[in-house]
């Protein structure tokens, strides 16, 4: 096979077609073609999502669940259709189990306050992992402060693996909640959530999953997982910002008090007493991000049409390719080398601070994230101020990885 034939075969990879769906990727940054590798922070949006939001505002913008007029009905139908779409994507039992929130952060805060706080007593324990994003640490710390409960942390190995045996040791009669991420945003580690859930349930302990980093990379089936709650953000899975989902088992959601009060979440209001609306509206006070909800439904449709298995395989290939190339560069150390990883390549360089790496790569058109990635305890664990992080999405290609590697070599030249 000639080099040209090999190239053609390579360019036939569907990722080159998928790229075409993302108009933002056609631009240049600092005179270089944009290589967007900051997907763990937020993913780009396919045209279908952009057009769905646009269409809502152009053609049927209206408030939902209250108007009797045509546009209101159309908006309500589209919003509720999106909820059903999300329910099916997650394989939840009922659309009532799908609560629209602003993002994973709000979803986790909702669970901590409405599910956690009322059931926690002084000395009760909440288990999290050492590699949580701040959004799955701080809401639990707030609940601990309010109730006298205690946060227990499952440590990780030097390579960034979840220490399952330590988890089993921590799981005890005082454990009330286990809240862990499915994929680490700073390291890319995939946690053994199925085993975690089985072990916790064997002790009667409910499990909350932070799915923000997992849902763009893997099929999620909440019934197969049997998790009690699952939170994710729309914008990391090709949907709009400002919209996300909290899935909760109906039995829990029914028993939980409302989190925020306002319109839409009530059945009746008087100055003596108000009564609550049915699920899921009990948790959806106020006018929601209607266009966002509709856009998120379209984003999941898009991902389903591409095929999450194909996406996962492609991203795995990119990660392997990048890991091989970057780990061979002298003076570069990978942070997070667990055997099971998804989508994230974090690294530090001997002579260049992550911020300098980020600025120099940016000038090559390569967008990565530099910093602590809202996971300060992970950075402390490695005794580093932060990392440079490249993270992959379905539209990335091996050429993007090559541009990253060339950029890292440029950093080495400058900082040698």
């Amino acid at each position: 096979m000639t080099v040209v034939e090999k190239l053609k075969l390579h360019e036939a990879h569907p990722a080159y077609r998928w790229r075409e769906d993302f108009p933002i990727l056609r631009q240049k940054v600092h005179g270089r073609p944009l290589v967007y590798l900051d997907n763990a922070a937020t993913s780009q949006k396919p045209l279908a999502v952009i057009e769905a939001e646009d269409r809502y505002y152009r053609e049927y913008n209206s408030n939902i669940h209250r108007g009797v007029h045509a546009l209101s009905q159309q908006a309500t139908d589209a919003y509720e259709k999106a909820r059903v779409r999300i329910q099916k994507y997650l394989n939840a039992r009922s659309p009532h189990e799908i609560i629209f929130v602003r993002g994973a952060t709000e979803g986790l805060n909702l669970v901590a306050q409405s599910f956690g706080r009322p059931r926690l007593r002084p000395g009760d324990e909440i288990i999290v992992s050492a590699m949580e994003h701040h959004s799955n640490i701080v809401p639990w710390q707030l609940a601990c402060e309010q109730t006298g409960a205690v946060l227990k942390v499952v440590p990780m190995t030097d390579s960034g693996e979840f220490m399952y045996e330590e988890f089993e040791r921590l799981l005890g009669i005082r454990t009330r909640i286990v809240a862990v991420t499915q994929v680490s945003n700073a390291l890319g580690t995939i946690l053994p959530v199925k085993r975690i859930i089985e072990a916790a349930h064997a002790q009667g302990v409910p499990v909350v999953l932070d799915g923000a980093q997992a849902i763009p990379h893997a099929r999620v089936d909440v019934q197969a997982l049997d998790c009690d709650f699952y939170a994710f953000s729309g914008h990391k899975v090709y949907g709009p910002t400002g919209i996300g989902v909290l899935y909760g088992k109906e039995k829990h959601l029914e028993a939980m008090p409302p989190w925020q009060g306002g319109g839409d979440m009530i059945r009746t209001v008087s100055f003596e007493k108000s009564t609550w609306n049915d699920l899921p509206y009990k948790f959806e006070a106020g006018t929601p991000h209607i266009a966002g909800g509709i856009g998120l439904g379209v984003a999941l449709d898009y991902l389903a049409s591409v095929g999450i298995e194909a996406v996962a395989a492609h991203e795995h290939d990119l990660l392997e390719y990048a890991t091989g190339l970057v780990s061979e560069i002298p003076g570069v150390r990978l942070i997070g080398t667990a055997p099971e990883k998804a989508g994230v390549l974090s690294f530090v360089m001997d002579h260049a601070h992550p911020h300098d790496v980020g600025t120099i790569l940016d000038h090559q058109g390569v967008a990565i994230r530099a910093g602590h990635h809202c996971a300060m305890p992970v950075m402390d664990r490695y005794n580093i101020p932060g990392t440079a992080r490249a993270s992959f999405a379905l539209y990335n290609t091996r050429e993007d990885v090559d541009a990253l590697v060339a950029g890292i070599h440029r950093v080495r030249e400058l900082f040698a």
Partner: protein, 148 residues
């Protein structure tokens, strides 16, 4: 790459790789810690004041090339100056790294190598961290601090 070289000038590499006055001052009269939580940069500025005059100044910590070089260059530019002169210099420096239309300040001397940072808004805080920490140190209680 010319514009990257505006930011990463040789003087900056020199000072980030071999920072000057990079040590604690055992008999410091003031000190303060600076932290940029966005990037994790942390540094401590030590001051030894003789009345109103900066007799000695140093720093320690870890940060990117820009923040380390800026701290190093700052310590070089302050010795022997009065607190009032330092305030004046701080204002001129702050102006120079944030305002595109800032006139050239001769008094900035070597500090002018950091002016390139104004083309990189995300990095301005790196260049000013040491100076803000200095401000905090000047405002701190007048007392000897232990480095142990």
């Amino acid at each position: 790459m010319a514009d990257l070289r505006e930011l990463y000038q040789e003087v900056i590499f020199d000072h980030s790789k071999r920072p000057r006055n990079f040590h604690p001052i055992v008999d410091a009269t003031r000190k303060a810690q600076g932290h940029n939580p966005l990037c994790g940069d942390k540094l401590t500025v030590y001051l030894k004041l003789d009345g109103d005059v900066i007799e000695d100044v140093s720093f320690e910590g870890c940060g990117c090339a820009i923040s380390t070089a800026s701290a190093s260059l700052m310590t070089e530019s302050l010795k022997g100056k009065t607190v009032q002169e330092v305030q004046h210099l701080f204002e001129a420096f702050h102006h120079a790294v944030t305002d595109d239309h800032a006139p050239a300040h001769d008094e900035l001397g070597k500090l002018q190598v950091l002016c390139g940072v104004r083309e990189f808004p995300a990095r301005v805080k790196c260049a000013t961290l040491a100076w803000h920490t200095l401000q905090a140190a000047l405002k701190s209680e007048l007392k000897a601090v232990s480095t142990e």
